[in-house]
């Protein structure tokens, strides 16, 4: 039973984090500099999801420099920079990762 209560509480809090700003922020009250800073939100949030997933192993230790994930990561950066294409970036990173895993 407690598990259900926990899930509902976690769900409500999670939902409130999504609703909170949408409901409470009045755009006309935001200063220009705040709007500018909000423009950086994707660049501020996504790396915090990307970097630990690439640079840490399942055991929470830092990976080796020649780890397949590091190689896939850098290939994806280069292809992303050149192509500016989302699908190509993901595919290039994944394929280079697979090549290192399965061929070496």
């Amino acid at each position: 039973m407690t598990i259900w209560i926990s899930i509902v509480i976690a769900g409500i809090i999670n939902y409130l984090t999504r609703l909170g700003s949408i409901l409470l922020i009045k755009p006309e009250r935001l200063s220009e500099s705040t709007k500018k800073i909000l423009g950086y939100v994707p660049s501020a949030v996504f790396p915090a999801i990307i970097f630990p997933a690439v640079f840490f192993n399942e055991t929470n230790t830092i990976v080796q420099i020649n780890d397949p994930k590091i190689i896939g990561f850098f290939v994806a950066i280069v292809i992303g920079y050149i192509s500016k294409n989302i699908i190509l970036t993901i595919i290039a990173g994944l394929i280079s990762y697979w090549i290192v895993i399965f061929l070496f």
């Binding site: 899930i7 999670n14 999504r18 790396p47 970036t89 895993i101």
Partner: protein
């Protein structure tokens, strides 16, 4: 085709490449829930009630490691605080909507839906029906997440672990940043946030995500302020 349908379909179209990691992740999540002993109903309920892959995983992992409910709830909530920032960004474009729309669209505001829809909002800020883009992207992700959770619950880990498909998660978020690779100010934020996330990875209650956001945003704020003075 009406503008509403057009925007709805555009949301679906824009988010579809991002489904590549969502599908295996949903299946893996469903299978993990069963493996950790939470049973099919509890496992599925999190996908509908919490509806956030990262928070759901954190929640289950902590509980199964013997953490108290309080710790599990707090940690999964700290992980979801990033949505406050997403909400602040999209609030600029959704302020004229009715309360019902805001209540419903908030439920669908996931990482991937935010990523594609905020780009669309920026380019189409005068479009009266721009919120249909978020509806299309959000509903697509919701349906896929529900279906794949059920597949994982019923069929177990049908995704071979050797394929290392969990690596597609960081790859997708990286791909979402490619438009910023040529902008030096964004590169500074990306680097600062990435570095902070490594340094603070062991911080309590999985707070490294929100810590990294706050640190990188604060520093770029200072840099912008300093630049204006010179």
């Amino acid at each position: 085709m009406s503008k509403k349908t057009e925007n709805l379909l555009k949301g679906f179209y824009d988010v579809s490449p991002l489904l590549l990691p969502v599908v295996p992740f949903g299946i893996i999540f469903g299978a993990i829930g069963i493996e950790l002993g939470f049973g099919p109903y509890v496992t599925y309920a999190t996908s509908i009630i919490i509806f956030s892959g990262a928070s759901q995983i954190v929640f289950f992992q902590l509980l199964s490691n013997g953490a108290s409910s309080l710790i599990a709830i707090t940690s999964s909530s700290v992980v979801s605080t990033r949505h406050l920032l997403y909400g602040a960004v999209v609030a600029q474009y959704l302020s004229k909507l009715s309360l019902m729309w805001k209540i419903f669209l908030s439920y669908l505001l996931t990482d991937q839906a935010f990523a594609v829809s905020q780009e669309f909002f920026k380019k189409n800020s005068n479009d009266e029906y721009k919120h249909y883009h978020l509806l299309g992207a959000g509903l697509t992700l919701w349906i896929v997440w529900q279906l794949t959770t059920v597949i994982g619950i019923l069929l177990g880990s049908i995704v071979p672990e050797e394929l290392g498909l969990s690596f597609t998660i960081p790859l997708t978020f990286l791909a979402l940043l490619i438009n910023y690779f040529r902008k030096i100010d964004h590169l500074i934020v990306i680097f600062l946030s990435g570095l902070s996330s490594i340094l603070f990875y062991e911080a309590p209650l999985k707070s490294y995500i929100i810590l990294s956001c706050v640190i990188s945003l604060f520093i770029i704020f200072l840099i912008n302020k300093f630049q204006k003075k010179i």
